[in-house]
Structure formats: structure tokens, C-alpha cells
Amino acid sequence: MKLLKLAYRNLWRNKRRSSIMLAAISVGLAALIFVWGFIDGMNEQTIENSTTYLTGHIKIHKTGFHNDKALYLTLPQNSVLQRRLLKNSHVIAVTPRIEDQAMLSGADEARGVKVVGVDPQLEPEVTTIAKAITNGRYLQANDTNTIVIGDKLAERTGLKTGDKAVLVTQARDGSLAADRFKVVGLFDSGIDIIDASHVFIPLPAAQELYSLWGQITAWVLRIDNRQHAGDIAQQLKTEIGSGFEVLGWKQLLPEMVQMIRFHEIISYIVVFIVIVIVAVGVTNTILMAVKERTHEFGIMLALGTSQNQIIQLVLLESFILGIIGLLAGNLIGLSITHYFSSAGIDLTQYTQAMETMPGLTGNVYPLIRLDHVLLVSIATFTISVLPALYPAWQVSRLQPVEAIHGVVKSTTHKVWHWTKKSASSTQLLFWRIAFRNIWRNPWRSALTSGATAFGLAAFLFLYAFTDGFFEQMIDNSTDFLTAHVQIEPQGYRDELSPSLYISQPENILSKLQQYPSMVAAAPRIQVESMISSPTKTEPLILTGVKPDMETQVTRLHNVIIKGEYLKANNKSDIVLGKKLVEKLDLRISEKVVVTTQLADGSLGSAAYRLVGVYQTNNEIFDRAYGFIGLQQAQSLLAMPNRISTIAIRLQKRDLSQSTAINLDKILAGSQYKAKSWQQIMPVLVQMIDVTRLMFFVVLAIVFVVVAMGVTNTLFMSVMERTREFGVMLAMGTEPRLIVRMVVYESIVLGLIGIVLGIIMGWLLVLYYSDGMDLSGFSGATSTIPGLTDIIYPVLIIDNIWLPTLILFITGVVAAFYPALRGARLSPVVAIRHV
């Protein structure tokens, strides 16, 4: 007990040092709690929205349906199974569904959609799309051919409530089926994927459309606790017997689960960075505190205090600080997180990019997860107490006489005489003093610049990683698909409709010939359509190209893995992506039928022969696109001599924006517009912005912690040298020179840290220059347009010099506080200080 009192008083005695340490612990901890809360909130929102709006918690299919989605894998719609499911006490509600693809035609547009046939009464007990109706009404019990669609889809197809829409699809028997539906309601779930591509119709109407009378494709369940979906699915599986696949949401949404895992890895990295830096700050402080009191410990030893008691005292002191830091950090972190968990963090500026992550909207509501709070608390506490062990152990080995005599002599390291030349100005001398002071306590300096270096290296690497990520995304997107600039009719990008076209492409093409930075240009037609094999139907963005010109602009012909690319004068050939070919279950030279809506609103379709399969390794490219000859597309769409866009390749990608502006001037007066890749893929640009934003958060945290570390070290080194400063002041050194000296030290420390950090970060990047294989998260990365599973980190100087500079300045500015403390010392008091 006496020891406790002593420890407590010791902490009070040096309030400033104690508060520096407290600040390091509590700010670090608070930052960790908040960052993790933010990421957890994002993940939770993703899961919650995706499951409650659409997917449900558990689905039951006929065995094999999940992988194949074939309409012969159906279940009878009988209430026996339904009742048996409801017997399980965890199951709250069960509803039947038919889920498949179709093409939705509105007044002027057609889109590939996911059709969900639902029981209008049971469905709202399982999912909540009915609550998201913003216009009109939800489906009702005795509706026949009614449909509700997402607001985004309504916008793109031009449909309004009250309009008639047509669903065209392939029925169970392989025949083409179509039916008319009346739009009775629009919904807005805030989730892009749902709002832009899902439609809901009554189950009987779906059974009629797909020729699935009395059949369904899935039972969808809501259970009492989503966390236990896996276990409950397992239970149900044994309860209902064989022939079924029972899938929890994690299996139903594997890409989401992988994305969440990806987020979690990023959280762990951030946690790791912060913890390392905090640990260094705390270690420094404790080492210093112990060293400063050597004399005192000597006296205690001489008075008969046992060595164990001294160890206990030192440990107790850091223990008390750790506890207080823990409480303060939790208090700050939890209150901030709690505040934002109800207020939300407004990222609506980046809505589009956020919504590419399924289930996310523009507002993020951080979530406090007790297990994570506990984990970071324990980690922070441990690193704030652990560093005390070493100095405590050192103290216990002190000889009382030596200790009383004063400082443990720092004779352990040799004095290096770099130069015998004397400095020719105070400036030079102070630099020299700064260098030597840093060398004087090499461990402490190493820890501090090491922490700076570590923070910077980690940051640089993360940055390089994401830059690699984005470079690849942009490169692949422009190389395979969008090219650098496209010229297209005004408004075309939002509609992809054959009613918007360029009528005399030759004129524009010839004008382009003179444009200096242009490498090649190719005319194209692009429309939304539906592609059917004998057994399956999938949505398709059909692209008509002139093979000889297209190959000058994009490089898809380089990634053909089976068959060959389109020939210049082919009759009816089509090239498809690997994923789509797998989904359609196709082989080379088999026939497919493509159906699309013409400019006059009628449907057109034509048969093509598969001649080639490409693989970009990007999920979307490999699944959503198909290429035919331009003439074939023109004849399918009944638009001879017309095209939708002209894709342009430039000498350098960087020229896209300026070129688009220049071309717009050339095109002034026409209804055509030039669009850079940034305008063609705004989502990509926003995604880059979001990631940058996240990085700024990480950066800010790293800065705060580094600044605290530097202040801490310099502060201690100033306090240690109180007497020395006293002597300098007595000899007539002006206080501002003392400030300068300390600031020089921080500059040297900062430079060492930054150079080391850049080298470390650069080496890491170099090490991974052959690519980082993320196939473990393949679902998560390759669903992002343009991205594959292998990321090649790149250091882009333009992106990193500023953060590096800011980090350096932060460190130097942080030095001013201790520097001023040193300069404001009264010489009389300072000299009395031993």
C-alpha cells in the first residue's frame, strides 16, 4: 500500500511527463477505437442492408442451384417444408421466391434485370424492400401482372408508376418468354445494386413467366440472430433432410464477406501502426523517468528498500498511468464513436463510390463492437506497461553507491570524433551539437526516428498499394474497354440507348486524323441486351466494333484464351468473356441468341457463333460484355451507318482530360461530346477519392502520434539537460539560440526518420513489385471494375511527397514546445537542478 502511495506521488511529481505519456496512450487508444468503429460500422451496415433488403439470412434451394442457377433445379411450393422450417425456434419467418434474370423494356430503354417473384404477404416478414417504396405502392396479395422497380432502374429505363413494362426472358423449357407488367411502385433502398437492377413481381406471375407452375427456386428465411446464421443453417439442413442446400448469408454473399475481410485487414494494419508508435513513446518516457531517478533509487536501496520493491514501484507507476490512459482513451474514443454512431458521418459526396460496395450508402454510422474495444484496450494497456519491465530490471541491478553518486555513466558508448575542425559559426556549431546530442542517447533517438520511419514506411506502402490498385484499375479499364477518350451523343452514357447515335462518323473520324496526340480512333455501337444459350439467359452489354480499327485502340484481342478475336469481315461471330461463357455453359462455335430493344421500342434478336473467349481476370469485364462486328450490330439494331461512340487512344493516358476539352471545342455546335475516361467512369474516380479520404484519416492519426512521439523525446531530452541549458544561458547564450538548437535536433531526428521511412517503404514496394497475390480476397477485388487479383504496388512521387513533407513539418513544429520550455528556463533555477 505504501508503495502504491509512493508510485502515485511520483507520478504527480512530474506532471508534465505523466501527462505526455497519458496523452500518448489515450489519444492512441481513442483513435483506434474510432477507426475500428468506423470500419465496423461500414461492415455492419453492408451486411444489415444487404440481408434485410434483399438476401435474407438463410436461403434454401434445391441442391446445386446456388452454383448453377438453372431453372430445372426448383422446389415444389408446398407448405409442408415451410411448416417444418418454422418449427425451428430460431426461424422467425419463411417466404417462397423465384429468382432469375430477364430483360426489362420500358418505353425507350431496355435493361438486364434480376427478377424476384415474391409472395406479397410473406415477403415483408422476411425482407424490408416494401418499406423502401418511395412512389406508388408495394405488391399486393391479389395483384396479377404488377411490378415494382428500383428508382435508379426507373431513371435509366424511363419507366414511371402506371407505365407498362415488358419482361423478356428464357423460360424453363428454353423458349423465349415475355409478359407485360404494370409498374405500381418504385423503391429506393439506397443500395445501388438493388435499386438499379432488381424488380419484384408477384410469385404467381413469375411462375407463369418462367413456366414454373407450382415451383419456386428458394425459400428465404429470417432468423432471430443473424450472427448464428451458419449454425442455424446447419441445424436446418439436418432437420429437413437431403436434396436441399441450406445457405447462410455468408455463403450467399461471398463477395461481401471477402470485402469485409479486406476491410478488417486494413483495420489491423492501422491498429498495428498506431500501437507501435505509441509503444515507442511510452518506452521512451519510462526509460527516461527511471534514468532521471537513479540517484533517488540509490538512496532507497541504501535505506534498505529491496530490489523487488523498486521493480514493483516502477511497474506500479506505469500500471497506474496505463489504467488512467485506458479509461481516458476509452472515454474519448467511445464518446466520439458513440456520437457519430447516431449522427452518422456524411460521405454523401462520395455516394456513388460508397454504393458500389453493396449495402453501403452515403452515410456511415460507426459501430462500437465490444470485442474490438476490448482488444485494442488490452493491446494498448499491455504496450504501456510492458516497456517498464526493462528499466525496472535495470534499476534492480543498481549498486547503491554508484546510484547515489549520480547518473549511471553513459560511458557504454564511445565518443566519436568526426572532426577536429572547429565550427565557424554558431549556426554550424548548433548543428553539430544537435547531431551529437542525438548520438548521446542513441537508443532513444533510434526509437523516435524508428517510429517516424515505421509510420512513414507503412503509410508509403499502403499508399503504393492503393496507387497500384488504382493504376491497374485505370489501366485495365482504359486498355480493355473505355479507351482514353470517347466521343458520343449528349446523354448517351446514362442510357446506352440506340436512339442516341452519331450519324456521320466519317466526318468526325477524318477531323480526328489531324489531332496530334491521337494514336487511333475506332467507331463502336453499345447497347444493353440479353444473351441466351440453349439453357441460360444472362444480361449483356453488346458492343459492335470494327475489328481492324478496334485493335488499334484497345487490347482485348491480346487476352483471348480460347478461339480467336473477331475477323475483319466476319458474318455473325461473337467474342465473350470467360465468366459469361462459363455461366452460359458454352463452347467455341456454339450458337447464342442476343435480344435487344431497338430505337423504335420493338425487340430485335439475332443469332451469333462464339468464336473467341477473352479473360481479363476482372469479374465485370469477363462477365458483362460481348463483342460483334460493327455491321452486324448496325443490322441488328436497324441503324445502318450509325454508331454510338468513337473510342480514342492517345499517346499518353494523362492527356485524356485536356484532350477531351480540346475535342469538345472542335465538336462545338454538334450534339456530340468528348468524354475523358474520368467522365466515362465517374465511379472509379470517386472510389479513388474515397480511398484517399480514408488515407487522410490514417495519415492524420499517424501524424498526431508521430508529433507526440517527437515532442515527447525532445521534451525528455530538454528536461535531462536542464542544467546544461542553465550553464549555456549563464554564459550569455540567448534563449532564441536554445530554441534553435532544439529545433535542429528535431530536424535531424525527423530527417533520419523520413529517409529511413522512405527507404523501408521503397524496399517493401520493391519487394512486392512482382505483384501481391490477393486471390484470397479475389471476390472482393476482382468485382471492382478494372481490377484483378494481383496488385502491383507503385510509388507515385506526386502522391507521396506532400504527406512526407507534412510529416516532417509536423515533427519539427512539435519540437517548438519543448524548445520553448528549454529557452524559458531561468538560469538560476536550471543550474540548481541536478
Binding site: S422, N437, R440, E724, A730, M731, G732, P735, I831
Partner: protein, 229 residues
């Protein structure tokens, strides 16, 4: 010719609401070339008096002139300049800047005074030789013995030819023969260069060599004896 003059000097320290009168009315004049010792028991005010005379601190009341400047009227910067040009200090221990060599420690003051490279170098080397440290110029303080360190401190204090050199118990941490040698050195310098030295001490050896002894008790002067010769 007086170099330091004190008139009714009182110094009070305030610490945690208790105030201590360290000096209670000191009147004194010190002439150029004196070799003077302040003696008295611990806590009698010796250090306080030296600090005031060196312009490290200002009196609570009363007046002090150093080289014809009244220090109560100077601001911090001017005090700093006064110390730089007029005063040299030798403290009891840890006098030197540990990261600088003996030579650099001596040169430090002249660097602040912006004395040209060559002159600075020459004078520093000469002074170090004069205090008997030839060949040890490039050693760091931790590579020197206690007596050698004090010699460097003395060299540094006199190198820029100040009006007064103040030494607060300079021999307290030295063995007696080393202490005696240091004192002989200072005495020598005093005689050859007419530098004014003021000591505080407990050391009988110092008292023996001093030409004037001022005895303090409880912040007052109780005796002031000049030796002749």
C-alpha cells in the same frame, strides 16, 4: 576603480507561499583586479549573491551596477549580452557542454561573440595551454578528469577577457591537491591579467589564497577583511 557595486540589495525567494530572504541588505564594492572570496555556512546566501553579481538574476530591491550598468534596468536580452561580454562563470560541477570538446567549449563564447575564426582558434588554444591542457584540446568532458574539467571551465571563463569571473565553490568536488593547483592557476591569471575573481567557498585553502574575505551569515555581511599585499 569599482567594477561591481551593490546598494542595499535584498533578494527574496518565493516558493509555495513561503518566502525566504536569501539576502537582507548587502552593501559592497568590488574593484578591478580583486581576488575575493565569499565565505559562510551553507544557506548563508553566497550563491545568491554571486548570481546577482553575475547578472543571472535581479535583486528584489536595492541596486547593482556591473561595469557601470545598473542590472535592474536591463531586459533579459541585455542581461544575456552583459553576461556574454562582461562575466565569466565557473560552477561547482557539470560546467561544460558535454557534447563539445574542450576546445569547442572554450570557443563557444567567442562564437557567440562572433569573433573571427582564426583569432578565436588562436586565443582558445593559447588559453587552454595556459591552464595546462595542451594536447587535450579535442577531448570531450567525459574523457577528462574532474580537475581537468574545471580547468576547461576556467579557460572558458577567462578567454574573452571578462570584467569579472565568478566561481561558485569551484573546488568543492576536487581533491585538495587538484583544488590547490586550480586556485594557483586562477591566482596566477589574476595577477598576470588583472582579471577580477570572486569565489564562494568553504575551503580553507581558498580562504588562505584570497586577498579579500567577505563573510556572510543569514544573508548579511558579518565581516569584510582585505589582506595587504
Amino acid at each position: 576603480m569599482s567594477i561591481v557595486r551593490l546598494e542595499q540589495v535584498i533578494k527574496e525567494y518565493h516558493q509555495d507561499s513561503i518566502s525566504v530572504q536569501a539576502l537582507r541588505g548587502i552593501d559592497m564594492t568590488i574593484d578591478k583586479g580583486e581576488f575575493m572570496a565569499l565565505i559562510g555556512p551553507s544557506g548563508s546566501g553566497k550563491t545568491t549573491l554571486l548570481n546577482l553579481v553575475g547578472g543571472l538574476d535581479i535583486p528584489s530591491s536595492g541596486k547593482i551596477w556591473i561595469a557601470d550598468k545598473e542590472i535592474g534596468k536591463l531586459n533579459k536580452r541585455e542581461l544575456s549580452m552583459l553576461r556574454l561580454w562582461k562575466v565569466g562563470f565557473v560552477f561547482q560541477e557539470y560546467n561544460l557542454i558535454p557534447v563539445l570538446s574542450a576546445l569547442e567549449n572554450v570557443e563557444y563564447i567567442m562564437l557567440l561573440q562572433k569573433i573571427p575564426d582564426q583569432e578565436r582558434r588562436q586565443r582558445s588554444m593559447a588559453v587552454l595551454a595556459e591552464v595546462g591542457l595542451q594536447g587535450l584540446e579535442h577531448r570531450r568532458p567525459q574523457e577528462l578528469s574532474g580537475g581537468q574539467q574545471q580547468r576547461v571551465a576556467v579557460a572558458r571563463a577567462i578567454v574573452s577577457e571578462p570584467a569579472i569571473v565568478l566561481a561558485d565553490e569551484p573546488t568543492a568536488n576536487l581533491d585538495s591537491s587538484t583544488g590547490a593547483a586550480l586556485l594557483d592557476l586562477m591566482r596566477n591569471l589574476n595577477e598576470r591579467h588583472q582579471i577580477t575573481f570572486i569565489f564562494s567557498t568553504h575551503d580553507p585553502m581558498v580562504m588562505e589564497r584570497a586577498k579579500r574575505l567577505v563573510q556572510l551569515k543569514d544573508g548579511k555581511i558579518v565581516s569584510d577583511n582585505k589582506k595587504s599585499g
